[in-house]
C-alpha cells in the first residue's frame, strides 16, 4: 500500500510538472503579452520606453527559458507572481476566488450524486413500467442540456417570472441554488446512466437471488445488496467528472454572475494575464489529481476485496 501510494504521488508530481510546462509553452506562444494589452492602448499615454521598463519589471523581456526557470522556481516556493491586470499577488487572487468555486463544485457534485441515485432507485423500485422507461431515458436528455442554456432558462423562470430567487443581493445559499442545479443536471446524467447499467448487471448476480431466497423484499435487496456493489464503478466516474465541474464553472459563474475561479479564468484569458492563467491551470490540475487520488484511496474502504490484508487461514 505504502509503495503504491508513494508511486502515485510521484506520478502526480510528474503530471503537475507537465501541466505547468505545457501551459507555459502555450501561453508563451500567444502573440503579445499582458503588458502590451494593458498599457499600449494609448489611453494611459505611456511612451515606448516606459512600457519597456514595465516589461522589465514584470520579467516579460527575459529569454523564454529564463522566464520558465524563474516562473517554475516561483511556483515551487509558492510565489506565483503578480497579476498584470489588478497588480495583486496571484496567490491572493486565487485564494479569494477558490472557495466559492469549491463550494459550487462540491455542492453540484453532491446534488448530481443525489439526483443520479434517486433516478436509479426510483426506476428500479417503481412497478409502473412507463415511469421506469421514462426514468431510464432521462439521462440521455439531461446530458444533452447545455449548462449555459439551462442557466439562462432557469434565471428567466425562477428569478424573473416566479421571483423565487432574487437577482440583486441574493443570500449566500440563494445565489448558489440555481447554478448548482444547472451544473448538477448534466453531471448527474452519466452517473445515473452508469448506475442504472450497474444495477441491472449486479441484479443478475447469484447473490441477489440468494438474498431474495432469504426472504428479503425487493427494496431491501436493492438498497442493502445491489446498490453497494453498483456504486463502485460510479466512484471512478465521479472523480473524472470533477474536472468537468471546474471547466463548467467558467460558464456557470459567467451566466450567474458569481465570483470564482471560472470568472477569474475568463478575465485572465481576455487580458492575457499569463501569471494568473498559469496558476489556474496548475491549481486545476492539482485539484483534479487530488480528487482522483482520493477516489483511489477511497476504493479499499468501500470494496473489501481491494484491501491488502493477509488472507487468514483460508482452507475448506
Amino acid at each position: 500500500m505504502h509503495a503504491q501510494l508513494v508511486s502515485r504521488i510521484g506520478q502526480s508530481i510528474l503530471v503537475l510538472w507537465a501541466a505547468f510546462t505545457l501551459s507555459f509553452v502555450l501561453l508563451q506562444a500567444l502573440p503579445g503579452d499582458a503588458v502590451l494589452i494593458r498599457f499600449l492602448g494609448g489611453d494611459l499615454g505611456l511612451s515606448p520606453e516606459q512600457i519597456a521598463e514595465l516589461r522589465v519589471l514584470y520579467g516579460a523581456d527575459a529569454p523564454i527559458w529564463e522566464q520558465y526557470i524563474v516562473s517554475l522556481s516561483g511556483f515551487l516556493t509558492g510565489n506565483f507572481g503578480y497579476s498584470v491586470i489588478s497588480g495583486t499577488p496571484v496567490a491572493t487572487e486565487i485564494l479569494t476566488n477558490l472557495p466559492p468555486t469549491l463550494w459550487l463544485a462540491g455542492l453540484s457534485l453532491a446534488a448530481a450524486a443525489l439526483l443520479a441515485i434517486t433516478i436509479a432507485l426510483t426506476a428500479n423500485l417503481t412497478g409502473f413500467a412507463p415511469l421506469k422507461a421514462a426514468l431510464e431515458n432521462l439521462p440521455s436528455l439531461m446530458i444533452s442540456v447545455p449548462v449555459f442554456w439551462l442557466g439562462i432558462v432557469m434565471i428567466q423562470m425562477f428569478s424573473f417570472q416566479l421571483g423565487w430567487v432574487s437577482v440583486i443581493n441574493p443570500g449566500p445559499w440563494e445565489q448558489l441554488a440555481l447554478p448548482v442545479i444547472a451544473i448538477a443536471v448534466p453531471i448527474a446524467a452519466p452517473l445515473a446512466q452508469i448506475l442504472l447499467r450497474n444495477i441491472e448487471a449486479v441484479s443478475r448476480q447469484p447473490f441477489v437471488q440468494v438474498a431474495r431466497a432469504k426472504g428479503a423484499a425487493p427494496a431491501h435487496v436493492l438498497v442493502r445488496h445491489i446498490l453497494g456493489n453498483a456504486l463502485l464503478p460510479s466512484l471512478t466516474i465521479a472523480g473524472l467528472l470533477f474536472g468537468e465541474l471546474i471547466a463548467g464553472a467558467v460558464i456557470t459563474e459567467t451566466v450567474f454572475g458569481l465570483n470564482g475561479i471560472g470568472r477569474l479564468a475568463e478575465r485572465s484569458v481576455r487580458f492575457q494575464d499569463t501569471a494568473v492563467l498559469q496558476a489556474i491551470v496548475v491549481i486545476s490540475a492539482f485539484a483534479f489529481l487530488l480528487i482522483n487520488l482520493a477516489v483511489d484511496l477511497l476504493y479499499p474502504l468501500v470494496d473489501p476485496r481491494l484491501r491488502r490484508d493477509d488472507v487468514k487461514g483460508a482452507t475448506a
Binding site: 437471488q209 440468494v210 431474495r212 431466497a213 432469504k214 426472504g215 442493502r224 445488496h225 473489501p304 483460508a314
Partner: protein, 555 residues
C-alpha cells in the same frame, strides 16, 4: 454410502400410516417464459426427512422448477398450470409478501455457485445474520451468538474470525458452508439445493454433501436436490425425478429408476454418465516401440505474488507421452495442472526444467521459432461459450489459424474448412452462422476444428469437456477418440474429472498442490493407487452406487 436406505424401507414394507408427512407436493406444474413452456406437467412429492433428486441436463427445466417453488422465477417466467402445495397449503398463487414470509424461514435455498452467491462487499457474519434480522426479533447479541454456533455446526473453523471476514477471504468449500449455515439457520421444513457442489472440487464436494446429509437427518428436513450428476443423485437421493425438456422421463425410487429405467432418455443418461463403476471401453493397445512426443523433465514454475514473495505453482514435474496416446493431468483446482499444460504448449516459460516436444526444447524457443512451433501443438479450452469470437462466423473461426502462417489460396482454405467440419461432424450449413446460434456441443466441435486446421500432432485439451452436459460430453469424447485413431493425434488431457480420465486416457499424472504425487498407466493408478491422496480422490467421486448398468438396447 446409502444414507437413504432406512428411509426407503417403510415406503416399501409398512402401510401409509407410518410415512412421514408430505412437505411438498408438486402437481402437474407447468411454467412458461413468455409463451415458451419450459416445465410441462411435472409432479412429485417430498416427505419430511426425504431426499428427492431432480435430475436433468441444461434446459431440462430443473432449475426453473426449483425457482417456481419459492416464487423466484426470473424475468417473464410464470406458473401457467398446476399447483404447488407446501405443508398442505397451496402456494402457487401466493403474493410476493406471502412468499417473503416463507423464503429463508420455511423453505431455504442452497445455491449453485458459492463463488458468486455471497455479496462481496458485506461480511460473512452480517449476511448470515440477515436471515435472523428478516424473520425474527432477536437482539443483535443473540443473533451474533446464533450465527457463531451455526458456523460451528457447519464446520467452519475459527467462527469468531469468519464472522467479520469477507467472501473473497474464504475458499469455495468454506463459502458453501456459509451458504448452508444460512439455509439451516431457521430450521426450514424444506431445503432446495440447486447443484450445491457442481462448482467444487471432488473431495470438497463429498464433504459438503455429507454435511447436508447430516443436517437433514438431524433436523428431519426435506431436501430437494437439483443436479445434473446421476452419480450424486444415486448416492444421496431416496427418489429421483428425471427431467428432459421440461417433462418427466422417469420418477421413482432411486434404485428402481437407475437399475431399470423406463424411458430411453434415462437409459441414455446412464450410458453416457462417466463413472468409475463402468468398465471403460477398450483403448487401442499402445505399440511398445511408439516414439515419445512429449518429454517433460523436472519442471518448476514460480510466480511472484503481489508482495513479491515467490510462490511455487509446480515443482519437479516429469512425465513422457508416447505418440498417438492420451496422457491426463488430473488434480483439484490450484494443483498446477493447467500451469504444466501451458508450459508444454509454449505459452509459459518455466523457472526450471525442460519440456521437449518431438525433440524440440520448447522452453528455449522464442520469436519466429516459437511461432512456427505452435503449428505442432494446439489448444482446446474449457468453455466453448467464451473461447469463440462471437462476431466471427464459424467458418472464419476455423479458418483463422491458417491466415497466421504461410499463405494458402482462399479456395483451398475453404475446402479445408469444409473437410474439417465434416471430420468433426459439424453440419457445413453451420459454417456461415455465428457461435451464438450453436449449442455447447457444436461450439466445442468448432473449437476442436479450429485446433486441427493447422494439422498439429498434439492437442492440449484443458478441461475441454467439463462444461458440457453428460450426453454431449459423451459425444465429444467419442469424437476425440475417433480423431485420435484416424489422425494419430497425441492428447494432453487436463481434467479434474477422474471418471472421464479413466474413460479416455492411457496414462495419467495425479497432481496435488503443485506436486505430481503419482503417475502411470490409467488402469494401474485407478485399481491400485499408491498414495493416500489418489485413493481419497477416487473415493470421493460420486456414483460408486451406480454399479449395475442397465442393458443398452441399441448401444
Amino acid at each position: 454410502m446409502t444414507y437413504a436406505a432406512p428411509l426407503r424401507a417403510p415406503e416399501t414394507l409398512v402401510p401409509v400410516l407410518h410415512l412421514p408427512p408430505v412437505v411438498l407436493a408438486v402437481e402437474n406444474l407447468s411454467v412458461a417464459y413468455g409463451t415458451t413452456r419450459v416445465v410441462d406437467q411435472v409432479s412429485f412429492t417430498i416427505r419430511a426427512g426425504e431426499v428427492v433428486a431432480l435430475v436433468g441436463e441444461s434446459g431440462s427445466g430443473k432449475t426453473t422448477t426449483a425457482q417456481a417453488l419459492i416464487g423466484l422465477l426470473s424475468g417473464n417466467g410464470r406458473v401457467t398450470d398446476g399447483a404447488i402445495r407446501f405443508d398442505g397449503e397451496t402456494i402457487t398463487a401466493f403474493t410476493e409478501r406471502q412468499f417473503q414470509a416463507l423464503r429463508g424461514k420455511r423453505i431455504a435455498l442452497v445455491p449453485q455457485d458459492p463463488g458468486s452467491s455471497l455479496n462481496p462487499v458485506r461480511t460473512i457474519g452480517s449476511q448470515v445474520a440477515e436471515v435472523f434480522r428478516l424473520h425474527t426479533d432477536h437482539s443483535p447479541d443473540l443473533i451474533r451468538r446464533e450465527v457463531l454456533s451455526l458456523f460451528e455446526r457447519v464446520g467452519l473453523s475459527q467462527p469468531e474470525l469468519r464472522y467479520d471476514q469477507y467472501p473473497h477471504e474464504l475458499s469455495g468449500g468454506m463459502k458453501q458452508r456459509v451458504l448452508i449455515a444460512m439455509a439451516i439457520a431457521l430450521r426450514p421444513d424444506l431445503i432446495i439445493a440447486d447443484e450445491p457442489t457442481s462448482a467444487l472440487d471432488v473431495t470438497v464436494q463429498r464433504r459438503i454433501l455429507d454435511l447436508i446429509d447430516d443436517l437433514r437427518r438431524e433436523y428431519g428436513t426435506a431436501l430437494l436436490l437439483v443436479t445434473h450428476d446421476l452419480g450424486v443423485a444415486s448416492d444421496r437421493a431416496d427418489r429421483v425425478v428425471v427431467l428432459q425438456k421440461g417433462r418427466i422421463q422417469d420418477s421413482g425410487l432411486t434404485r428402481d429408476v437407475l437399475s431399470a429405467p423406463s424411458s430411453p432418455y434415462t437409459r441414455q443418461l446412464l450410458a453416457d454418465a462417466p463413472s468409475l463403476a463402468a468398465v471403460p471401453k477398450a483403448r487401442p493397445v499402445i505399440a511398445s516401440n511408439a516414439r515419445t512426443v512429449i518429454e517433460v523433465q523436472g519442471l518448476e514454475q514460480q510466480f511472484r505474488t503481489k508482495d513479491r514473495a515467490a510462490f511455487t505453482a509446480i515443482r519437479d514435474i516429469s512425465f513422457s507421452v508416447a505418440a498417438g496416446t492420451t496422457h491426463a493431468l488430473v488434480g483439484e483446482s490450484g494443483s498446477g495442472k493447467t500451469t504444466t499444460a501451458r508450459i508444454v504448449s509454449g505459452l509459459l516459460r518455466p523457472t526450471f526444467g525442460s519440456a521437449r516436444i518431438d525433440g524440440v526444447e520448447v522452453t528455449s524457443l522464442a520469436g519466429e521459432a516459437l511461432r512456427q512451433f505452435r503449428r505442432k501443438i494446439q489448444l482446446v479450452y474449457q468453455n466453448p461459450f467464451q473461447s469463440l469470437d462471437p462476431r466471427q462466423t464459424v467458418g472464419q473461426i476455423i479458418e483463422e489459424p491458417l491466415l497466421n502462417f504461410s499463405p494458402v489460396p482462399a479456395q483451398e482454405r475453404k475446402a479445408r474448412v469444409v473437410a474439417l467440419a465434416e471430420r468433426v461432424h459439424l453440419d457445413s450449413a453451420l459454417l456461415s452462422r455465428r457461435p451464438a446460434a450453436l449449442s455447447g456441443g457444436q461450439r466445442q466441435r468448432v473449437a476442436i476444428a479450429r485446433a486441427l486446421i493447422l494439422e498439429p500432432s498434439i492437442l492440449v485439451l484443458d478441461e475441454a469437456v467439463s462444461a458440457l452436459d453428460v450426453t454431449v460430453q459423451a459425444r465429444i469424447l467419442e469424437l476425440l477418440a475417433e480423431l485420435q485413431r484416424d489422425l494419430g493425434l497425441t492428447y494432453l488431457f487436463v481434467s479434474h474429472d477422474l471418471a472421464v480420465v479413466r474413460a479416455i486416457a492411457d496414462t495419467v499424472s495425479v497432481f496435488q498442490a503443485g506436486q505430481q504425487v503419482e503417475q502411470g498407466k490409467v488402469e494401474d493408478v485407478f485399481s491400485h493407487p499408491s498414495t493416500a491422496y489418489t485413493r481419497q480422490l477416487i473415493a470421493a467421486i460420486p456414483g460408486a452406487t451406480l454399479t449395475s448398468r442397465p442393458k443398452q438396447p441399441n448401444a
